[in-house]
Amino acid sequence: MSTAQHIEPQGPRPHGWFEWERFVVYAFLILTSLYFLLPLYIVLITSTKNLEEIAQGNLFVPSLHPTFAPWYRAWFEICTGLECKGIHPNFMNSVIITVPSVIVSIAVAITTGYALNNWPFRFSEGFFTILIIGSFVPYQVMLFPMVLLTKNMGIYSTLYAVIFVHTVFGLPILTLLFRNYFASLPVELFKAARVDGAGFWRILFQVFLPMSVPMLTVAVILQVTGIWNDFLFGVVFAGLQNYPMTVKLNNIFTSTMGVKEYNVEMAATMLTGAVPLLIYFLSGRYFVRGIAAGAVKG
């Protein structure tokens, strides 16, 4: 029994309910998260105040009589210049831009990623390297030639141009995403399909596509938020009538006609941020996976 005395104690050291280290950790985390949460809180309470309450200037105090009238005005009535239709037509524009851009860019990227990974040919990696490096180059460098290109294609100042540009600039990162994902799948799958006589497209549609649902989710989240949040391409390529929500929001703030309705402006801001926020809160870990890859694009 003497050996029992030599056994080292195992497991975590027992401790009381209060520990300084834990306290510091949580205090730090809570304090920093306040910095991140505060703006959301302020915007939410500002958008439900009336103008008199705003004029008093108590940023942190919620309204005594919260109202959703500013949200209604932002959606249906707020003016930019002479047009007073609110932000809802631009919500539709954003939807019309986002849906086809997402579908086309992902369809192209999934095929390219599969071709690169499973059917490499001479220079295929070279093209891909150009694509990845190009995705770090500031958009401003390629902006004007792209304008000329879309003008020559006859689609400048239409929604098609925006969709085209988003597809082009979305391709690098999405291709990278799918190429790496396909590389992580067991190669025997591909070999077996080849032995069974399936060709390029058949393997893509019957083997790889059904298996890429998790990556598809990541790609959709990445693209929807990315395209929804875009400002530059919207303002350059869409044309006055087709402005997406972000461009319209900015115009609401810069148009100087009449009284400034800060509560309505904040409601419009929340409405513009609502779609990506909703996707973010619903998708959780998929979003985190997506941004790690898509951060390049930001």
């Binding site: 920093t32 200037g57 192209v108 190009g134 938020t225 900015n250």
Partner: protein
């Protein structure tokens, strides 16, 4: 492997034909959109094009020397970009790493904290800019609220102060981007081998020293990637400035991307192209060491 399977069945140009066909969009985009458009911009920055892109005369470095470098607004924009880059990367790295380390202490409700730190990243820069413009507005925002609480001499008017407006942009930028740095660093921390921790504990090295002297150097690849992502984002910073200060007051918080936009679409095309070539150069300075490490050196050691 597929080369072997296809060999002998197809002649070389037709080998992998479907794959080549499927890669046409990629080749087109790589060659025309990325290389072609960049070369076009560089070439036309040496022309005297004003509002129409016709290459009439080669004017050498005229657009750079006489137009761009002689313009004080351009230098303001460049200095602002440098201030933004230095402050945003430094603060985001320190804050992001600290939060990641604290998150790594097996905290409860880690998911909740992560959600809070990252949600700004889901928002558009335009949204972020206007939200912070509201908070920092001297008339209605933080300044007035604090004064109402009794501290009547409190001033926080950075967005209307020409000497400080770029720092207002920095605050909003950090708010949006720190979550991303935190997420990447946390992933890096989780990637550190558990054995390293055990060894450090056996040697009796305190936790903070393990983080600083062992784990941090081990995370160099993550750091480099994060730096490239954050820094190349800073070079092209645009939307957030447009929304927050629109380059003002005056031109005090203008950034290069705004300068480029202004000249590309409001006359003085060649000057705009020259400015965007300078932006390309700036991102090349950040990218080339990374490309070297990632693609050239990495291949050699493999």
């Amino acid at each position: 492997m597929c080369f072997i399977l296809a060999a002998g069945v197809w002649n070389a140009p037709y080998r992998n034909f479907s794959s080549k066909l499927a890669s046409v969009p990629m080749m087109f985009i790589a060659m025309f959109a990325f290389i072609g458009c960049s070369l076009w911009t560089i070439a036309f920055s040496f022309s005297d094009a004003q509002s129409f892109p016709i290459f009439r005369n080669f004017v050498g470095l005229y657009n750079y020397r006489v137009k761009l470098f002689a313009d004080s607004v351009w230098w303001t924009a460049c200095i602002n970009a440098v201030i933004y880059l230095v402050l945003v990367t430094t603060i985001e790295f320190i804050l992001g790493f600290l939060i990641a380390v604290f998150m790594d202490q097996k905290v409860r409700a880690e998911g909740v904290f992560r959600t809070i730190y990252l949600y700004p990243f889901a928002l558009s820069f335009i949204v972020t800019g206007h939200v912070w413009a509201w908070i920092m507005s001297p008339e209605y925002g933080l300044e007035k609220s604090v004064r109402n609480m009794g501290w009547t001499s409190f001033t926080f008017d950075w967005i209307t102060d020409p000497n400080r407006s770029i720092y207002a942009v920095v605050i909003a930028g950090i708010w949006q981007g720190t979550g991303l740095v935190m997420a990447l660093m946390l992933a890096g921390l989780r990637g550190v081998d558990e054995e390293v921790w055990k060894a450090a504990r056996v040697d009796g090295i305190p936790k903070w020293r393990t983080y600083l002297q062992i784990v941090l150097p081990m995370m160099r690849p993550v750091m480099i990637t994060t730096f490239v992502i954050v820094a190349s984002g800073c070079v092209r910073v645009y939307d957030i400035v447009v929304a927050l200060t629109d380059g003002g007051p005056g031109t005090s918080s203008k950034v290069p991307a705004q300068y480029v936009y202004q000249y590309l679409f409001q006359g003085g095309l060649a000057r705009g192209l020259a400015a965007s070539t300078m932006m390309l150069l700036a991102s090349a300075v950040i990218l080339i060491p990374w490309i070297y490490v990632e693609f050239v050196k990495g291949k050699q050691t493999r």
